[in-house]
Amino acid sequence: MDVKLNELGAWLGGRDFTPNGILSAIRRGHDRYYNKYINVKKGGIGGVAMLLVGYVAISYLWEYDHIKHDRWRKYH
């Protein structure tokens, strides 16, 4: 990416965390994803599939505390 790993702290400090800034960051991210994978002439399944996989992953993460009780073994 454009930000090196050791510059991460400085880069994060310079970011705009106001509500407007956060909203504009979300909009920029959305535009980037949309223009790269969806707003094209011949898109494939990838654009939607990635969103669905992300949704599945996030929902698993949010439910993990509940799913913990279905574990087969107590000690790993």
Binding site: Y34, K36, K41, K42, G44, I67, R71
Partner: protein, 241 residues
Amino acid sequence: MLSRLVFVSGIVVHASRCLHTSSQSLAPVPPLPEKGGKVRHGFIPEELFQLLYPKTGVTGPYMLGAGLLLYMLSKEIYVINHETFAAASIGAVIIYGVKKFGPSVGAFADKLNEEKVAKAQEVKDVAMSSLVQATEDEKKEQWRVEGRAMLFDAKRNNVAMLLETNYRERLHMVTNEVKRRLDYQIALQDLNRRLEQEHMINWVEKSVISSITPQQEKESIAKCITDLKVLAKATQAKATA
């Protein structure tokens, strides 16, 4: 594939390519990119493979995936329960459906897109041809205007001729009328003179006749008889001579 559906259904979902972000004018709008970002196996972006290729070669990401999967299974970060079975079945059905019907649906959406584009193109072509025709007609009209000067000259000549004819007619009429009036005056004078002459002659005759007394009449008759006798004698003498 959603891209084709989005395009086809005409949902203007935030036309958010860089329009109106720079001060330069971006007309005509640049065309859509042909293909989206490459995605391997349907949900892993190609960038991951490119990222890991220098360090680990071609099999690197697959090894990473397999290792992560084993780690999550063994540490039971991913728990196998009834939902796993459901997810597996649904995944199988989805993959089968996409593999089987993907290309045909894509082709159908592409065809719809083509029709839309063809219609727009046709409108543009018709507009262009009509504008070209309009410019040609305009040029023709400009050429016609040049000829209009000649038309006006001919018309001007016509009008001048009409005026001339009218003027001559009136002149003619005026001379005729004047001549008629002068002729009338001449005739009037002639009549006057003739009347005076006749009246004078009549009056002289009447006065002469009335002045002949009976005495003079007898003398003149006797003189006529003697003259006649003399004449008779002369002619008799001439006849016998």
